[in-house]
């Protein structure tokens, strides 16, 4: 499969907080239908960059378009074209599955009929019929995450942003979750994902590695391993981040 149609284009994107440069002139493209891994150490600037791309934070300089919309002027259109889920925030624990679907469907402007159709299909696919009217808090973490992913896709977004979606999830559920990601990508949804599991970095078509606000490497996992002469993405990560530490000390 080749990807040639950019759906996210970022050019010299920069975000400063006072004298601190959190995101330092990053440039990259994500292609339509691609699974793109956005990796980096804690504090490297991933979350700051992601907030800009989902339209909730304004950059200091640089340009970017997401799903064809400008990140300065068209943030509302961006929000309608994307889905978002994170480990920390996904669904409302006190609401039932039904209420969560209705709430998020409503926010994204679906009609009652669309919401009904979508929620029937979703609940059947996940096998959650008997839990439909139970609060989310009754579900195990892995199920919550699968449901959250499905809810984030409810309005048929072009791109879905996943911020550490599988942290702490058991190994089988983590893989079922990735099968859902593959399936969405196969249908043409673009996946933008952050993770600390380096085996998951291997599941991406391409990954970028952010170190101290800059993108230090961007390629397919296979080519990155070849370039650094190592066997795993974990070693690629350690190489990049450690080199940076040494450079700082000197």
């Amino acid at each position: 499969m080749t990807y040639s149609d950019p759906i996210i284009s970022v050019d010299k994107l920069t975000k400063k907080f006072g004298s601190f440069t959190a995101v330092n002139a990053i440039s990259f493209q994500v292609m339509k239908g691609e699974i793109f891994g956005f990796l980096g150490a804690n504090g490297a600037g991933k979350t700051t960059a992601m907030k800009i791309l989902i339209g909730i934070s304004r950059p200091t300089s640089g340009t970017a378009t997401v799903a064809g919309y400008d990140i300065y002027k068209q943030t509302e259109q961006i929000k309608k074209s994307i889905g978002y889920m994170s480990q920390r925030f996904s669904l409302y624990n006190d609401l039932t599955i039904k209420e969560n679907i209705e709430f998020f469907g409503g926010i994204y402007g679906l009609t009652s009929r669309q919401i009904r159709e979508k929620s029937d299909a979703l609940v059947e696919k996940l096998g959650l019929q008997d839990k439909f009217n139970r609060p989310i808090s009754d579900l195990p973490l892995g199920w919550k995450q699968k449901l959250a992913f499905s809810v984030a896709l409810l309005h048929d977004p072009k791109i879905i942003f996943l911020d550490e979606p599988t942290g702490g999830v058991d190994p089988v559920t983590r893989r079922m979750f990735w099968n859902m990601i593959y399936e969405a990508a196969y249908r043409g949804v673009t996946i933008f994902v952050t993770t600390h599991y380096m085996d998951e970095a291997e599941y991406c078509n391409r990954v970028s590695m952010m170190v101290d606000g800059k993108i230090e490497a961007l390629d397919s996992p296979a080519r990155l391993k070849e370039k650094f002469g190592v066997n795993s993405m974990n070693d690629v990560f350690v190489r990049l981040a450690r080199n940076q530490d040494k450079a700082k000390v000197q």
Binding site: N42, Y182, H196, A241
Partner: protein
Amino acid sequence: MEIRIESISKSFGDVRALVDVTFDVNAGELFGLIGPDGGGKTTLFRILTTLMLPDSGNAVVAGYPISDYQAIRRSVGYMPGRFSLYPDLTVEENLKFFASIFGTTVEKNYELIRDIYVQIEPFRDRRAGALSGGMKQKLALCCALIHRPKVLFLDEPTTGVDPVSRKEFWEMLDRLRQDGMAILVSTAYMDEASLCDRVALIHQGKILTTDTPANITVTFGRPLYAIRTSNVYEVTRDIESYAYARTIYPFGEHLHYTDKREKPDPIELEDFLRGKGHHDIELTAIEPTIEDAFMELAETHSQILTQ
């Protein structure tokens, strides 16, 4: 033996958080409690550090029964999963505070924490709340060590921490173990199991197995194959329709496959996939990892439950 756990059970309403948990940790041993969130790891830590009573069962920590909470609290260090230092105090103030409530001084035990503390010392006047994730974790470890405990409890110290900081953290634990301290550390990262002397795999409140990492992978007990392909999604879907397929899971750059038969036929499987139009398949017999073993044991365990 620094930790002895005998048949500990604990329920919260209908939820059985811990079911008949039994294992030991020796002095100088780095022992991993490995399993996903919701498995019961934190509940067990809270019982062993005397913050919670079990419904049944016994435990002895640093030579004291868990009913003797005053003695245990003096003898153990505990780093909870959630950052629990004082965010408004500086790095140095936090450390002095923890030393003084344990009736000691930073100077007296500085040797034990020196390797770790030098990394955060440049920020000693910074408020703890303003530290980065990796530095908070190092400070928390210093505070848990400052009274030179006999037993150290670390509840998911590496969750949400990037691979570089994780590696550094495990190197620190390796040095502490050499001092003779018993360390019980929990993690949801299966790859960290190989860094422990022994591990207990925990899932849904039950210990699936306790052994050295090497012995656990031996118990996997069936041929395992790695499949390399450029089209993970379609190959997975096609293998699911293969008559002898038992499990197929993505594993890093490969798919891991097990067969329903005792003696699988890899050539037949390759032919099957070629017939489906996959021509870039590479199939190799491999040794299982801890994560393969965990998934296998967890699956067997839930089958027993549903029977």
